[in-house]
């Protein structure tokens, strides 16, 4: 239960908003829930709804709106590759195909070792450095096959070194709430 496990964080998050506007804490609470469950599972949605006294439909709605909330389980490292206009013109579609092939997965699938999943996202605002991807909130730009290989090696190594999932956003929220 998030309520118990993150009692302090939740309390301090809620304290930031006036009594009748507690719902404003929803995005942060969803990050905590996602950190806990790995994605916005049914449980995650229901617990967030319960904390805020709203219907879980509301949480589902927000989950679907923002691409950083995952509705299905994802790998440790989520490779979010942009193929919006600028990236597409610079070969993003082919880049995605290549990436999928290298990792042996389709879009939205998880590699058997649970490390990676590939997602297709809309413009991330780095059009001048296309093609690009974002992995756990970090941008990787001007990509090509070689850089992709390096990237994958880099993350494999980090994982091997016991990198605790790099959910920076969540950690940032959690750190802030301790003050």
């Amino acid at each position: 239960m998030l309520k118990e496990k993150y009692a302090k964080e939740i309390e301090s998050l809620l304290a930031r908003y006036p009594e009748d506007k507690k719902v404003s804490a929803i995005l942060s609470l969803m990050h905590i829930a996602q950190k806990e469950y790995g994605y916005m599972s049914q449980e995650a949605k229901e617990e967030v709804a319960d904390i805020l006294g709203i219907d879980p439909t509301h949480v589902l709605s927000i989950t679907g709106f923002y691409s950083l909330y995952y509705e299905e389980p994802v790998g440790e490292y989520v490779l979010e590759i942009c193929n919006d206009l600028a990236c597409a013109l610079r070969g993003a579609d082919e880049f995605i195909d290549m990436a999928c092939q290298k990792l042996g997965v389709q879009k939205d699938e998880i590699t058997p070792d649970g490390l990676f999943s590939i997602k297709n996202v809309m413009c991330l605002g780095a059009c001048d450095r296309a093609p690009m991807l974002q992995c756990n909130l970090k941008f990787h730009e001007h990509l090509d096959e070689e850089k992709f290989d390096q990237l994958i090696d880099h993350y494999r190594q980090r994982a091997a070194e016991g990198d605790d999932r790099a959910h920076e956003v969540v950690d940032k929220i959690l750190i802030e709430t301790h003050h």
Binding site: D55, T57, H58, L60, S61, G64
Partner: protein, 849 residues
């Protein structure tokens, strides 16, 4: 009234309230700007761009501030730099609007073309086809050909149940958000939402049960496409085959105006049947909304087990007979009993039925032994004096006004009033909620009092005391009293939750006196428009039953009788001890409701009903009556508005209207010949015999006038498929206070019903099982299950957990309930839900089964 501004729409000059949107303002001069997402009852969002128009403002010289004029002296207009959405722009003085120019036409073509890029165009199999805003606007503004490629259309799921009542067709949705905004802004049930973005956007629900709202059907009316349909009507008929018949909801005291869409069909054996119930606009009553209860409960009219022939007991069993035998038998038996005969009626039949019923007893038999079979709440005589004044409209209440709600869960008992009270609170009215436990109204309350069990009456008395002294006491009751006395307008609702009949009488009178307390300007809160008392009656025509004199001590029009007859309770005990030998029961089931223990020592029992109820099963004669759908008549709502309903389907079997059966019996007993029509019962009987109704007839009640917003015209896209009201807004009768001061009521003393260790009260649920609702299969998954709600602490003490089967014995009856420990019940009070009525605080014994 807010300030008026002058604007020009396509050259037509008009005055309109400041703050109106261009779309709504234009509608006043019959300029229909096409819309999809805009709805006159919802906040503007500007999501669909269908309403693009040209908007200009008169120019002013920057230096002098003077208007800049053209050579001909007319003001120079600055048309801005493009099209604007007429649904989000508010009118301003001097504004010019152009809706018919080429640029506007082109914009509309483009929006339609864009919307159709991923619309399935399956109109031939779509329920909305024929009354579809998208279809109509495509015909009016569509290009006929699209630059987009058919193969790139999104293919989405077509039959997605959003719960048991509403189905979603994902590919038809045009993402206007009317449904989600309705649920959020109007219904306060935000249980459907948008999911994903762009073309992948879809409506979802996660509530349990899905789309958990009493208002869900309304979204199908305002959805501008066939994306949302009801489980009840979908694929049932084409709109153009349907004949609309104006009617009134046969449930609830609000008197919601409805339209029954009927069709003659082969699959129903050539009968005309009701295919759906839709709202009919009455801004004074239900605006354009109805609850799902009202929408889906009509199936009892067409139920297979309706009584079709008179029945008579022969050799111990009920057998079919002809009308003449049945009527003669009843007439003879009643006449033989004479003034000792007793009559009990339900509070659902029409005024005509009820008037005829009391006339049969009072004039035909010289008996005053008539009463409602199941009286829950007193005070018809009080509201006759100080009831909400005629001409009132809850829609007008707002800032400066106070609404008081005592001992009622409006959301369950009278959802339309819940909606209107909530909206008044949102407009700034102060809401005072007094109840023994939390309800859904609490959220909107300015002043909230949860009084201890048994202290409803004491609390209102305290309030009255504080108002009369008005010493500016700063405790909560003092503050509430001050707010009430000082308010511009006050409307007070009272109900019967956890109260006995006697307590509701005291409640009504205390509130009446409270409303009569004069403020410093010498104004009280009775007898003035938008002021007065409203009883939350249990049924659609409880008010009418009071007015028509279904009361042992009050003849029609509240005229007191010299020798009051037996009350219902006295009749029931008389049935047991043999002092009542002959009983006529109309439209009620006292045996099924546990009020009457079989037929007791009755010598003769006649029951007039739609179904073979438990009471009918033990009767000597059963007379089949017509449902409201088969005939015409009037109901009087809780605001004393008398409203007409019209015949929609043919009579079932040989059934007859209640009033007619009664008058035929009366005729056999020597009373006048039966009237030819309900309208004549009204004119010759009611208007002549009930002073409050003397200025009414079927024509005056059927009067209509133009209503705003102007919904129900050809431009379906504007307000949805709610029907225009062409058959009557009804007529409110004037309370005594409107024609002069009324005296303060003498408030009797009453002892609250005794409570055991853990007091128990019965609370209402909109979908409580009953004779009529049980016949709507579509609602069966939503029926309130017999449940005992407990606070966690009490549950602990009793070692009861959620889901446990418990037996609660009340007044010698045991109820099988399922326990629920979920926060609905406050500590120290248990709630019984989903069972038929039980009065007051119950001395109940709770055991695990």
């Amino acid at each position: 009234m807010s300030d008026l501004v002058t604007i020009f729409v396509d050259g037509i000059e008009l005055q309109v309230e400041q703050g109106a949107t261009v779309v709504d303002a234009s509608k006043r001069v019959d300029v229909d700007i096409p819309v999809f997402c805009h709805h006159p009852k919802l906040e503007p969002v500007g999501m669909c761009r269908m309403c693009l128009v040209e908007i200009g403002m008169p120019m002013r010289d920057r230096a002098t501030g003077e208007p800049v004029l053209e050579e001909d002296g007319s003001p120079q207009i600055n048309w801005g730099r493009g099209l604007q959405t007429g649904c989000t722009v508010r009118v301003a003085d001097g504004m010019r609007v152009r809706t018919t120019t080429d640029v506007v036409d082109e914009a509309r073509e483009n929006v339609i073309e864009f919307l159709l890029t991923s619309h399935p165009l399956d109109c031939p199999i779509c329920d909305k086809g024929g009354e579809c805003p998208l279809q109509n606007l495509t015909m009016a503004h569509g290009l006929g050909e699209s630059a987009f490629d058919f193969d790139s259309k999104m293919q989405n799921e077509k039959h997605v149940p959003l719960g048991e009542l509403i189905f979603l067709d994902r590919e038809r949705c045009i993402q206007c958000a009317r449904c989600t905004r309705f649920q959020d802004e109007i219904a306060d049930d935000p249980v459907i939402g948008f999911h994903n973005r762009g073309r992948a956007l879809e409506i979802v629900t996660l509530s349990d049960p899905g789309f958990d709202s009493y208002w869900s059907g309304n979204t199908t009316d305002i959805c501008p496409v066939g994306a949302l349909t009801t489980a009840d009507f979908r694929f049932g008929a084409r709109p153009w085959e349907l004949i609309p018949v104006a009617s009134i909801s046969p449930h609830g005291p609000e008197g919601a105006n409805i339209t029954m869409s009927t069709r003659q069909e082969a699959k129903s054996g050539g009968r005309v049947v009701i295919k759906r119930i839709m709202p009919r606009q009455n801004e004074l009553v239900n605006e354009i909304w109805i609850s799902d209860h009202t929408r889906f409960v009509h199936h009892f009219a067409d139920a297979a087990d309706r009584l079709t022939k008179p029945l008579i007991r022969k050799g111990g069993v009920l057998v079919e007979t002809d009308w003449d035998t049945a009527l003669t038998t009843v007439a003879e038996k009643l006449q033989a009993a004479g003034s000792s005969a007793a009559g009990l009626s339900g509070d659902r039949p029409s005024n005509e039925d009820l008037f005829a019923f009391q006339k049969l007893f009072r004039q035909g038999l010289k008996s005053h032994h008539i009463d409602l079979a199941a009286s829950r709440i007193a005070g018809g005589d009080v509201t006759a004096q100080v009831g909400i004044a005629s001409g009132s409209n809850l829609l007008d209440l707002g800032r400066g006004d106070v609404i008081v709600v005592v001992a009622s869960d409006l959301h369950e008992e009278a959802p339309i009033w819940w909606l209107r009270v909530k909206q008044a609170a949102e407009r700034g009215a102060q809401l005072v909620v007094l109840n023994v436990r939390p309800t859904r109204l609490d959220k909107f309350a300015t002043h909230l009092v949860h009084y201890p069990v048994g202290e409803a009456v004491a609390t209102v008395r305290q309030l009255l005391g504080a108002a009369q002294i008005s010493d500016g006491a700063s405790d909560q009751i003092g503050k509430i009293a001050e707010a009430i006395v000082g308010a511009t307008n006050v409307v007070a609702f009272y109900g019967y939750e956890g109260l006995t009949y006697a307590e509701t009488d005291v409640l009504a009178k205390s509130l009446a006196n409270l409303l009569q307390v004069k403020n410093s300007d010498g104004h009280s809160h009775v007898g003035r428009v938008n002021n007065g008392l409203i009883a939350v009656w249990p049924h659609n025509n409880t008010q009418g039953a009071w007015d028509m004199g279904i009361h042992p001590a009050l003849a029609p029009g509240y005229q007191s009788v010299d020798q009051p007859g037996r009350s219902a309770a006295e009749i029931y005990s008389g049935v047991q001890d043999g002092t009542v030998q002959t009983l006529f029961v109309m439209a009620a089931d006292p045996v099924g409701d546990g009020l009457m223990n079989g037929r007791g020592l009755l010598d003769f029992l006649v029951v007039q009903e739609l179904f073979l109820t438990e009471t009918a099963k033990v009767a000597d004669v059963v007379l089949p009556a017509q449902s409201w759908a088969e005939r015409d008549g009037t109901f009087t709502n809780g605001e004393r508005r008398v409203q007409r309903y019209y015949p929609a389907i043919q009579p079932v079997g040989e059934s007859r209207p209640d009033w007619q059966i009664i008058e035929q019996i009366g005729h056999k007993m020597g009373l006048d010949k039966p009237h030819f029509a309900a309208s004549l019962v009204f004119k010759k009987g009611i208007a002549a015999g009930v002073p409050q109704y003397s200025d009414m007839d079927y024509r005056s009640i059927a009067k209509v006038e133009k209503q705003y917003p102007d919904v129900g015209g050809e431009d379906l896209y504007y307000g949805g498929t709610s029907y225009e009201n062409k058959h009557g807004l009804g007529q409110q009768w004037t309370s005594a206070a409107e024609s002069g001061d009324v005296a303060m009521f003498t408030v009797p003393d009453v002892t609250p019903s005794a409570a055991g260790a853990l007091p128990v009260i019965r609370t209402a649920a909109l979908y409580t099982p009953g004779t009529l609702i049980n016949r709507s299969d579509v609602l069966s998954p939503r029926m309130a299950q017999p449940t005992l709600h407990l606070h966690a602490a009490d549950a602990d003490r009793l070692s009861i957990a959620t889901g446990d089967a418990v037996i609660v014995s009340v007044n010698g009856q045991s109820l099988q309930l399922s326990a629920h420990v979920n926060g609905a019940a406050p500590q120290g009070l248990a709630l019984i839900n989903g069972v038929s009525y039980a009065a007051g605080v119950l001395d109940a014994k709770i055991e695990t089964a």
